[in-house]
Amino acid sequence: MTIRSHLYRIAFLVPMGFALAGSLAIGAAARADVPAGYPADYQKIIDAAKQEGKVVVYSTTDAAQVSPVVKAFEAKYPGVTVEYNDLNSTELYNRFIAEVAAGAGTGDVLWSSAMDLQVKLVADGNALTYASAEKASLPKWADWRDQAYGTTAEPLAIVYNKRLVPAADVPKSHADLLKLLQTKPQDYTGKITAYDPERSGVGFLQLTQDVAAWPQAWDLFRAFGKTQIKLYTSVGAMLERVGSGEHLIAYDIFGSYAIAREKKDPSIGWVLPNDYTLVTSRVAFISAKAKAPNAAKLFLDFLLSKDGQTILANQADLHAVRDDVEGVATAKGTAALVGDKARPVAIDESLLNNLKPIERLAFLKKWKAAMQGQ
C-alpha cells in the first residue's frame, strides 16, 4: 500500500476510534449520572433537566452559605445551572404570588425558612406533587403530601453571654429559664431578648409552638414581660447585643446561627433546652408552574440526598434533616444533645391557623397583656 492509503486509513480510523471511545465514555458518564439507589427511569428526568438547562431557585438561605451545595449540584449534573435568588421570606412570598398572578416567569424551587407561609403557598395549590427519590430516607414529618419537604432540622437554642452570665445561672431548660427570671429578676431586667411576634413571622411561629409544647409557656412569657424583655426582628441585632453584654440571654435562636456565631465570638455560648427542643425546618417545594420542573426535581432531590445534606451540615452550617449524616449540625447531633426531647414542628395544615387574622390577633393580644406582666 502507498503512503497515501496509509494516511487515509489513519485519517479514517483515528477519529472513529476517538468517537467510539468518546461515546463509550459519555455513555458511561450518562449511566453514572443516575445516583445509586434511584429508580432507573430517573435518567429521563436528568435528560429533560439538561434540555431545560437552568433551575431558578428562590430562597431565604444566604447565597454565600449555600454556595458549596450549589457548586456540588452543578458539578454532579453538568448542563444544569442554578440561578439562585437570595430573598427574605416576605420578599419571596410577595414576589412569588405576584409573578404567579401575572403569569410571568417565577421560581422553580421555593425554599424558605418561613414554614407557615410555605405551607400556605402549598395549600393554595402552588406546589407540584412529586415523590422525591430520597423520600424513604427522610423522617415522616419532613414530607407533606409529597408537595412540601423539610430540608433541614434546626433546633432552637438559648444563647447566652459566657463572660457575664455565671455558670450556675445558665438555663438548661425552659423551666430553668422561668425559675431564673422569677428568682433573680434584678440581674436580668432588660437583659433578655427574643424575636418580636408582632413584627416577625418567625417569632410568632416559635412562640405559638412553645405554647403548644409546654403548659407553662404563658408563665414564661409573663416573666419575660416582668423583666422587660427586648424584642427584635433580626437575629444579627440580638446576637450582637448578647455578645457585647448589652443583653445577656437570647431566647429561641436558630441553632445554626448560634453554632456559626460561637465559632467566631468566644463570648457566645448556647444550650439546647432539655425539657423540649423545638426543631424548625426550611421547607422547599417545586412550583406547579415551574418552567424547569425536571431541573427542579433534580435540585430538590440533591438537597435531600446524603451528599447534599452532608454539605449542608458541614459546610453551610445548616442542620441536616437526615438521620444518616454525621456532624454537629445534624439531626444526629441534636439527638446526641437532647435525645428524644427534640420536637419537630409539623409541616401541615395546623400551621395555617397562624395565618388566620382572628386567631393571630387574639394571640398577640394575650401576648401584649403578658408583656405587661398580666
Binding site: N94, A101, A102, R163, E198, G236, K264, D265, L361
Partner: protein, 569 residues
C-alpha cells in the same frame, strides 16, 4: 414680575411645547402609575390581583383604629420636624462656611461632609450602637471618667439629633449649589458696612438662597417620613415605632403581608405631604427676589475670615466628629474585632479575619461594579431627565406647574417597603414593560422615578436664580425658545446639574429597597449584599463591607473632585 411675563408671551413658539409636553407627560405617567396602584389597593380587601378582592374601607378602619399607628404618626412628625430644624440650621451655616469663606482644607472637608449620604442607614445606626450604645466604646470611656453615661442612644431626642446631623449633607448640597451663583458684591458691601462674617451669612447670603433652603427643608422633612434604618436599629429596643417601622410591622402582623393596610398608611402620608408642598410654593411666591444671576458679570471672591477661620474649621470638624467619626469609627472597629462590649479588652480581640472572609464572598466585585455603574451612568441619565423636566416647567405660567410640583414628590412619599412592591407590580402587570423587568434598566427607572423630586429641585433652585434679562437678550437677537434654553439657560444651571448628579450618584449607590424585587443574580448591588449579610446575622461582614464601601466611594469622590468635576463655575 412683568419681566418674567414678557418671556412667556403667546408668541412662545412650538419649540418649547415639543419639549414640554412629552417631558411632563412621560414624567407624570411614570409618577402616577405606582401611586394610583397603591391608592387603588388601599380600598380592596385582598391583593389587587386576587380574584376575590372586593371594595372595602376595612383597611382604613384597621389603621385609623390602631393606637400604634397614631403613636407612630406623632413620633414621625416629631422626628421629621426636629431633624429638619437641626439639619437646616447646621447645613446652611456649613454651606456658607465652605462656599463663601476661605476656610482651610475645603477639598478634604467636602468629602467628609458627604459621607453620611452614601453610608447605609442601618450600618450608620449600628456604628452608633457600637460606639455610643449602652456598652459602646465611647460610653465605657465616659463612664470610666465621670461614672455615668449621660446619654441614652435609644431615646427619641437621640434619634432626632442623629437623624438631623446625618441629613446635614442634603441641606448643604442644596444651599451650596445656590450660594455658588451669587456674586460677592453684596457681601462685600455688608462687610464694609461693618457686619461680622456670621451676620453677613445670616442677613445677606443665606436669605438670597431662600429657594434652595426652602426646597431643602421640605425634602429633608420628607426624608424624615422615609427614614427606616435609623429608627429600626435605634428604636427597636425602646419599642418606638415610626411610620416606616409601623409599615414593617403591618407586613407581618397578620401573617401574610397585608397590602391594603400598607397602602392605607401610604395614602395618609401622601395626604400629609400635600400641605407641605403648598407651604413650599407659598414660600417661593416672590421668586423674583432671589434672582442673582444677572446680565452683569459677577465676581466671586471668598470672604476673608481672619482669625475666625479656625473657629469655622472647628465647627465643621465638630459636626464631622459626631456625625462621621463616631459611627464610622464604630463600624471600623467592629470590622476588626471578633467581640466587643462590656468586659472585652479590645487589644485582645483584633483580627483581619472578617476582611478575609469578605474576599471569599461571592459576587462582591460584581456587586460593587453594578453599584458604581448605576450611580455614575444611571445618575447622569437621571439628571439629564430631571433637567429636561425642570426646564420644561421653567417660566411656564400655567396651573399645570402646580400639578407637577405636587406630583413630583408623590413617589418619595411612599416608604421604600411599599415603593419596591409597587414597582414590582407595575413591571409585572403592565405588559409592555414586562420584558424589561429583569434588567438594570428597570432598576434605574425605579430609582429615577422615586428620587425625581430631589434631583429636579436641585436644578430648579439654580434656575430660580437666573435673571430673565439674560434670556430676553438672547430672544432679542432672534433665538428661538428652544435655542434660548439650550444655549443660555442650560449652561447657567450647570452648577445645579452637577450638584444634582453628585447627590443622585450618592443616593443611587446607597439605594436598595426600591429595587429589591427587580434585583437578581447578576444585578445585585452593595445595598442588597449588605441586607443579605445582615439577614444572616453576620454583622462583622456587614461592617467590613461597609468600610470597603465608604472607602471606595470616598476615594472615587476625591478623585472626581480633584479631576475637575468642580461644583462651582
Amino acid at each position: 414680575m412683568a419681566a418674567a411675563d414678557w418671556t412667556t408671551a403667546p408668541s412662545a413658539g412650538l419649540g418649547v411645547a415639543f419639549l414640554r409636553v412629552p417631558a411632563i407627560g412621560i414624567a407624570m405617567v411614570l409618577v402616577l402609575c405606582p401611586i394610583l396602584l397603591v391608592v387603588y389597593q388601599s380600598f380592596l380587601s385582598d391583593p389587587f390581583f386576587t380574584p376575590s378582592a372586593q371594595f372595602t374601607l376595612d383597611a382604613y378602619r384597621f389603621v385609623l383604629e390602631d393606637p400604634d399607628f397614631w403613636r407612630a404618626l406623632w413620633t414621625t412628625l416629631a422626628l421629621a420636624a426636629g431633624m429638619t430644624v437641626i439639619a437646616v440650621c447646621i447645613g446652611t451655616v456649613l454651606a456658607f462656611i465652605m462656599v463663601r469663606t476661605d476656610v482651610p482644607g475645603r477639598s478634604f472637608l467636602e468629602i467628609l461632609l458627604l459621607v453620611p449620604i452614601f453610608t447605609s442607614a442601618v450600618v450608620l445606626a449600628f456604628g452608633y450602637v457600637v460606639a455610643a450604645g449602652p456598652v459602646g466604646i465611647v460610653s465605657t470611656w465616659v463612664k470610666d471618667v465621670i461614672g455615668v453615661v449621660p446619654w441614652d442612644i435609644y431615646s427619641l431626642p437621640s434619634l432626632i439629633v442623629i437623624a438631623g446631623l446625618t441629613h446635614v449633607p442634603h441641606v448643604y448640597l442644596y444651599t451650596a449649589a445656590g450660594l455658588r451663583g451669587i456674586g460677592s458684591d453684596v457681601e462685600e458691601a455688608a462687610r464694609i458696612a461693618g457686619a461680622s462674617p456670621f451676620r453677613v451669612a445670616l442677613a445677606v447670603s443665606l436669605p438670597m438662597v431662600r429657594p434652595s433652603i426652602a426646597f431643602a427643608s421640605v425634602l429633608v422633612f420628607f426624608l424624615g417620613f422615609e427614614l427606616f434604618g435609623l429608627p429600626l436599629v435605634l428604636g427597636d429596643p425602646a419599642q418606638r415605632l415610626v411610620l416606616t417601622t409601623y409599615l414593617y410591622k403591618l407586613t407581618n402582623i397578620l401573617g401574610t403581608p397585608s397590602y391594603q393596610l400598607m397602602a392605607a398608611v401610604v395614602v395618609v402620608i401622601i395626604l400629609i405631604a400635600a400641605p407641605l408642598v403648598a407651604l413650599q410654593r407659598r414660600l417661593l411666591r416672590d421668586a423674583g427676589r432671589y434672582v442673582s444671576m444677572r446680565g452683569k458679570g459677577v465676581r466671586i471672591e471668598p470672604l476673608r475670615l481672619g482669625a475666625s477661620r479656625w473657629l469655622a474649621l472647628g465647627v465643621i470638624l465638630l459636626w464631622a466628629l459626631v456625625t462621621v467619626v463616631v459611627p464610622i469609627g464604630g463600624i471600623l472597629l467592629r470590622s476588626f474585632v471578633v467581640s466587643w462590649g462590656e468586659g472585652v479588652h479590645l487589644l485582645d480581640v483584633l483580627t483581619l479575619q472578617h476582611y478575609r472572609e469578605l474576599l471569599d464572598y461571592p459576587n462582591i466585585v460584581r456587586g460593587i461594579l453594578n453599584t458604581l455603574g448605576v450611580g455614575v451612568i444611571g445618575g447622569a441619565a437621571a439628571v439629564a431627565c430631571y433637567t429636561a423636566l425642570a426646564l420644561a416647567v421653567h417660566r411656564w405660567q400655567s396651573k399645570w406647574v402646580r400639578v407637577v410640583d405636587y406630583l413630583a414628590l408623590a413617589p418619595r412619599a411612599m416608604p421604600g417597603i411599599v415603593a419596591g412592591l409597587a414597582i414590582l407590580w407595575i413591571f409585572l402587570f403592565v405588559k409592555p414593560l414586562t420584558p424589561l423587568r429583569q434588567t438594570m434598566f428597570s432598576v434605574w427607572l425605579a430609582y429615577a422615578v422615586v428620587w425625581l423630586a430631589y434631583g429636579m429641585r436641585l436644578v430648579q433652585g439654580t434656575l430660580l436664580q437666573i435673571g430673565p434679562e439674560l434670556e430676553e437678550a438672547a430672544r432679542t437677537t432672534g433665538a428661538s425658545d428652544l435655542r434660548v434654553k439650550r444655549d443660555v439657560t442650560l449652561p447657567l444651571v450647570r452648577n445645579g446639574m452637577l450638584a444634582a448628579w453628585l447627590l443622585i450618584f450618592l443616593i443611587f449607590v446607597r439605594e436598595y429597597s426600591t429595587g429589591v424585587y427587580l434585583l437578581g443574580p447578576g444585578t445585585e448591588v452593595i445595598g442588597s449584599l449588605l441586607v443579605s449579610l445582615w439577614g444572616t446575622g453576620a454583622v462583622d461582614l456587614v461592617s467590613a463591607l461597609s468600610v470597603v464601601n465608604v472607602a471606595l466611594i470616598g476615594l472615587g469622590l476625591a478623585v472626581a473632585l480633584r479631576l475637575g468635576i468642580r461644583l462651582h463655575a
